[in-house]
């Protein structure tokens, strides 16, 4: 990668990290949403043990909707703060996309590392294969971050923003969510984990990154 582009990505990444640590709103909302949903599910289950497949599906539904609250904020915050114009003048499209996308990926992965233990404790689930489980989480959260960054940029100028991101994200993320649920269920059940699903998630993440990179220029440099 070109050195100046790398530095520009790093600058955007640092800016995102600094703002996120200062305002706390982006990740606090995600955590509180996850905590509320988790406690609701646990309360309603009253200690019943879920089948691995059901537990895995429930986990990914909770992760999808709670992380969505963070993934879609990338450009909405800039628009509200009035800093979007400055970013458009000083930042190249690729630096903005990858700086914001990679920061979001790190943030969502860290948040999922906080949400998942709570889920495992409340639902009394043991994980048989942690490496495969963590790789699944990494692949899933990275895909959500990249798709969320591009799609949140798409939503400028939309009359309605709330709810729209989940409508746009779900079809795009299903090729990740479906294998992620199968892999997570295998990790919960202690069955053999099929590496081909992990390869599929990684491949889809890579294609999505490439497509986001190609398409983002058309959004960033408007006529």
């Amino acid at each position: 990668m070109h050195a100046s582009l790398y530095r520009a990505i790093e600058s955007v990444f640092r800016k995102e990290a600094r703002i996120s640590l200062r305002s706390r709103s982006s990740w606090l909302v995600v955590l509180m949403f996850a905590l509320t949903t988790l406690s609701c599910v646990s309360l309603l289950m009253q200690g019943d043990i879920l089948a691995p497949r059901l537990a895995a599906s429930m986990l990914w539904i909770i992760l999808f909707f709670s992380l969505l609250a963070g993934a879609g904020r990338g450009f909405a915050d800039e628009e509200q703060a009035g800093t979007l114009m400055a970013l458009q003048v000083y930042g190249s499209s690729q630096a903005v996309l990858f700086g914001k996308g990679l920061f979001m990926a790190v943030l969502l992965f860290v948040l999922s590392l906080l949400i998942v233990p709570m889920y495992l404790v409340l639902m009394d689930i043991a994980v048989a294969s942690w490496p495969a489980f963590l790789l699944t989480l990494l692949g899933g959260t990275y895909g959500m971050a990249m798709a969320g960054t591009l799609l949140s940029a798409l939503m400028f100028g939309a009359k309605v923003q709330s709810g729209l991101l989940s409508i746009l994200m779900l079809p795009v993320l299903l090729p990740i969510l479906l294998p992620a649920i199968v892999l997570t269920a295998s990790c919960f059940a202690g069955e053999a984990v099929h590496g081909s699903y992990l390869v599929g998630i990684a491949l889809y993440d890579a294609i999505m990154t490439l497509a986001a990179s190609l398409l983002f220029d058309f959004l960033w440099y408007e006529d």
């Binding site: 799609l151 729209l164 746009l168 299903l174 599929g200 889809y204 058309f218």
Partner: protein
């Protein structure tokens, strides 16, 4: 209506009549499925056009991004609108076939999942178009979403159905690359595929060329 459009509609009318006759009077009952196989001559063509409409929508999205033109956007949007209708028809006809052969309308078979995701993409695309008031921005954003969501199609159509167990009958061209079908059935299926594709093309051109197609959203 121009003369070539009239000719096209006449051809469609004749072809549709021939296909309907062949489906109900010439096609023999299939082994294991009996007369239920006749649903396939409607279901397969509408499913094919649902995917074709998505391809056309994505193709015109590329053309719009390379050279913005209201006509390219109209083709992309109208193709998606038609695609939504065809995907709903494919879902419903598939669900009826599923109920009659497997006993339930819906069981998240991989092929049902695929068609359902296609339905979600079409619905998301049209929802996105409806919430952006500015015509130029709407066209650009919709084109980008059409292409981005287009990524899922190869995964859903070709990869996921091969990973999961499916009750769905094998595709017309099976895994070994050969066609294992009665010759009358095959000819009727090809004719119905052509018929449905021509209907899609005729309606698409009619809608784009009419005032609704070009000025509907400006």
């Amino acid at each position: 209506m121009r003369s070539y459009e009239k000719g096209l509609w006449l051809l469609i009318l004749l072809l549709t009549a021939a296909v309907v006759y062949a489906v109900f009077f010439l096609v023999p009952p299939a082994m294991g499925l009996g007369s239920l196989v006749r649903i396939a001559f409607f279901h397969i063509p509408v499913a094919w056009v649902a995917v074709l409409a998505f391809l056309v929508s994505a193709w015109y999205a590329v053309r719009y991004l390379r050279r913005p033109s209201a006509r390219f956007d109209a083709f992309s949007a109208e193709s998606a609108r038609l695609g939504l209708i065809f995907v709903v028809l494919a879902t419903l006809s598939g669900a009826v076939f599923s109920k009659l052969t497997w006993g339930s309308y819906w069981n998240w078979d991989p092929r049902q999942t695929t068609i359902f995701v296609l339905l979600l993409i079409y619905a998301a695309y049209l929802t996105l178009r409806s919430v952006i008031p500015d015509a130029h921005r709407r066209a650009r954003v919709a084109a980008i979403y059409a292409l981005f969501s287009f990524l899922t199609v190869p995964f859903l159509v070709f990869i996921i159905p091969r990973f999961y167990f499916s009750l769905h009958p094998a595709p017309v061209i099976n895994g070994s690359g050969s066609i294992d079908m009665d010759p009358v059935m095959l000819k009727t299926l090809l004719a119905s595929l052509l018929d449905m594709t021509l209907i899609y093309i005729a309606v698409l051109y009619h809608r784009v060329n009419s005032e609704r197609g070009v000025h509907h959203e400006t």
